[in-house]
Symmetry: D2
Subunit: 324 residues, 4 copies
Amino acid sequence: MLFDLFRSFGVNLDLALEAREIVRGETGQEIPGVRVDRERFEHGEVTIVHIVEKAAETIMGKPVGTYITIEAPVLRENHPAAHHEVSQILARQLERFVAHIPEYGNILLVGLGNWRATPDALGPKVIEMSLVTRHLYNYAPQELKGGMRSVSALAPGVLGLTGIETAEIIKGVVEKIRPELIIAIDSLAARSVTRICTTIQIADTGISPGSGIGNRRAGINRESMGVPVIAIGVPTVVHAAVISQDTINAYLEQLQNTPVNTGFNPALARRAIEQVLEPFGGNLTVTPKEIDALIATTAKVIAGGISLALHPGLTEDDYSYYLH
Amino acid sequence: MLFDLFRSFGVNLDLALEAREIVRGETGQEIPGVRVDRERFEHGEVTIVHIVEKAAETIMGKPVGTYITIEAPVLRENHPAAHHEVSQILARQLERFVAHIPEYGNILLVGLGNWRATPDALGPKVIEMSLVTRHLYNYAPQELKGGMRSVSALAPGVLGLTGIETAEIIKGVVEKIRPELIIAIDSLAARSVTRICTTIQIADTGISPGSGIGNRRAGINRESMGVPVIAIGVPTVVHAAVISQDTINAYLEQLQNTPVNTGFNPALARRAIEQVLEPFGGNLTVTPKEIDALIATTAKVIAGGISLALHPGLTEDDYSYYLH
Amino acid sequence: MLFDLFRSFGVNLDLALEAREIVRGETGQEIPGVRVDRERFEHGEVTIVHIVEKAAETIMGKPVGTYITIEAPVLRENHPAAHHEVSQILARQLERFVAHIPEYGNILLVGLGNWRATPDALGPKVIEMSLVTRHLYNYAPQELKGGMRSVSALAPGVLGLTGIETAEIIKGVVEKIRPELIIAIDSLAARSVTRICTTIQIADTGISPGSGIGNRRAGINRESMGVPVIAIGVPTVVHAAVISQDTINAYLEQLQNTPVNTGFNPALARRAIEQVLEPFGGNLTVTPKEIDALIATTAKVIAGGISLALHPGLTEDDYSYYLH
Amino acid sequence: MLFDLFRSFGVNLDLALEAREIVRGETGQEIPGVRVDRERFEHGEVTIVHIVEKAAETIMGKPVGTYITIEAPVLRENHPAAHHEVSQILARQLERFVAHIPEYGNILLVGLGNWRATPDALGPKVIEMSLVTRHLYNYAPQELKGGMRSVSALAPGVLGLTGIETAEIIKGVVEKIRPELIIAIDSLAARSVTRICTTIQIADTGISPGSGIGNRRAGINRESMGVPVIAIGVPTVVHAAVISQDTINAYLEQLQNTPVNTGFNPALARRAIEQVLEPFGGNLTVTPKEIDALIATTAKVIAGGISLALHPGLTEDDYSYYLH
């Protein structure tokens, strides 16, 4: 029901972890066709949601697949060593998807989003910090050390900048260079401000249509691209409708301890939210003021994790040299 | 009372027009010591709030002075000719503050804000688009046409980038180059999302401490700078606490038509809002997704208006050439 | 002979006008299979070199086709009205290539070059200033006025940034969106510093392999792309080897008026130039210090000219609005 | 004599090492009042030129002071570990100038140059990568670890962007925040292309008027600023006139082995060079095509060296976190 309320405001649930929480919150029990694993590490937690049965797809609003979530609130603190650990956790989780790919088999990194809008610029920023080697493989192999993979990278921009669907650009390039795997990095919307730049989701189902803060129109997944797509997503915004919704709930909760206790009325809530947010419809997002610094930190952690996973022969020094 | 609620979340009322509306809303009558003029133009409205008496300062939370507000919802539409008109309105309003300054008397433009965070980048963007001539006056006067003023420009960055208070940097430069006037451009926070990139405030009181979306710590005004300061501000965000607040109100309003009618309880509201926004305190802001495009349009309108006002001898062609 | 000397240093002759001058300089007569038209305008000159016969291809080092050169030294002066005229001349010359394309037929703009290296950033800068409409045609036709064409735009970056050949990226996108025409904008190298940011070449043969200051490896032309390609090129650098060569010639010329007159010795010249430029081989380029301002001006003139040619229904006001 | 020839083309000798070589080349003996120390390290060499006597100032064209030159051709190679070593050498050389400054004593970093012109953007780029802490000292000391100094940073832009002399902006800020020391980073011009992005000069005399590739008009030194100024400079260009000059010399050298041997005629050379470079006067510079990548690497090495020197308590992990 809440689910529907958000959808009516164009709010998508990008994180499988949150979708599961909401569904379970409504039903009070484990979702059939869904299996969950957990792992603790020093500065956070990894939760793996396996959507294993077709039946669970509709309930969860997500395709069958594996959704790995790294929750690390420390990403918002001044704690370099901990960030380093998060990079390594990310690398270890990514490795399972790339281990089987031979060194010469190309991996295409795709940074989704709009480099002109800070909260949507995570993808392009990761691309800028990534270590691109495909041309060295093809033209100057002697410049490469052992243990490096062939990596190419693309920040295709957004429809408003190019006039071309992001998926069309990627598909066109994929058909030319035929990578073994695509890793797509995207900014997501979360249900809670606590998740902003503290949660990283890795999904082997790629990018679903309508997800991401720019609401990427078309899917970028194995079906549309013809090769496996790993999506790395980080929530960088919360939709304003979610904040509005949560505030009504919190207020009504407070009211429960008073004589004027009253239940939640979804229809009234929708009208109230519409009234407040109307001028920009579902297009209002909430971000912390320091979003530029948070995005910079997160981009570094992700680019570092990707490089560690793809180039096992790389030292830290090498990494900082190759990228610019 | 609402006033206090916002302040407890670090929410400042940057627009005099809104401060007046709220104060009047509470009292139901005109504020003593405040005078208001209005003027309609084709695509919007100019409201001039004169705070004339010291007594009104405390009530309004703004120093004695003139606050000109241009409201032009058309700025968010695809209507080039109308934007042009807004530039001209802005120019006409600015002229009253610059008319007495001789051509050789320098005017310093200051673009406040953080160029790395889209909604806070308006000031630096206007500087990039501004026509700087002071060095031509001093070193190559023959390159200048008649009817151009001596203009210098500065985007001092924010404390987190420089380690230096913005006001200190400006004051230091002012003491060296001794301009006749400072025009400071800043991003503001509004009470309503309808104002985002549709309202322009010109204030002859400069920048008050704590205003702007970055909460500029120190004031930039005649008192601190020793020369008159005209502030041009545009709301680019709304504080999340305001959205939360408004949603509670809207919901309670909806409830009035039901049997469970209940009055607004500020203490409960504060606790509810705190609960939802707590992880980032007062630092969560709401912006439309297309904020990058809106900022680009607004920066153009403002830079254009400033150039028209400062360089009466300038044709449009000239303008597009000189700036880069 | 000179030709060969330059080639040994990786110097390509990007301008047909210069190739013709050099060839004619050596032979002293008109080149068979080449026809030349000229047209004066107030602030410059248009020269159209038609390479009409296959035989002339080898002599000129350029494929059969039409090479329009606009020479406008005024582009380096402070003269807005004249720049405007150059935009209009460019538009008029481009129109002949686009007149037959229906409004709904898409035109793809491609900005070649490296946005991180100022003299190579012309192409990406023109893209930033271009008016992209394809998505409006497809999704929101009501936002478009009459007399506008469907335009898409791409700045594919360079091999070092993406690991992918520029031509591969473009070809991939072309096969997806099937434009009627490609207009590719590139930075070129010239034989003379006087041409830097004062000469614009429009060629209906597209981009030849090895041309441009980045020495784009593969051609971007009708043959490789399957659709006609119009190349707009502006010299932004001169190879250092050319400067070296010219200085030796100028010095020997000066010597002619002295008793120690001596002829030019190409073998010695090559060795001398190699000795001076050796550490960076053919990769040293000469640019004026103010190249950033020159590139900004030229990008504006070219983006303006393209928009005038592609969107005949567009007013100046419209143009400045749509682009950001 | 050569000296004069260059000066007539506005060519300044920014490196003390080169000035000494040229002077010694002409006289064939050590320069009175100059003392030289040398130190080898694995990937390069440190040469310290002490100009100790007033008399040597005029001969060298540089004020009395210490000029430390790190020559490390490896900076142009793909060798991360070696770059790391260069950062450490730089840190060790800088330490002698900062060792006596207490932790709370502020150090102001100034990045000179134009961020829009790649070869002149080194200074601003170093600032972007620098670790700014002054505000943490003043406002949130608990966020700082031991062994960190108070650092502020400024990229004042160039005259063409601000209309204000760079030295005026710096002086204004210095008078406000009263740092103990200024470290100014600048792009220089060299006499030889081999020095581009391979040589780092540290001078305790600050920046002399007319030096740097932008020919900074006014000096930035203890005299003008009232506090000591350490200048870190890296050649990123060679003046085109130098290349022209060198080519004539190299050609004449080649001629010596032929019957038409002829001596160098400075007057003819000047006329020849003028003829070739005339359209842009002394404003033509020579850079390698890959200058953007070289500047990125050098900026990283310098920002790293500065942070190591100023914040002895900082680990590498810390460093990568604090900066963004």
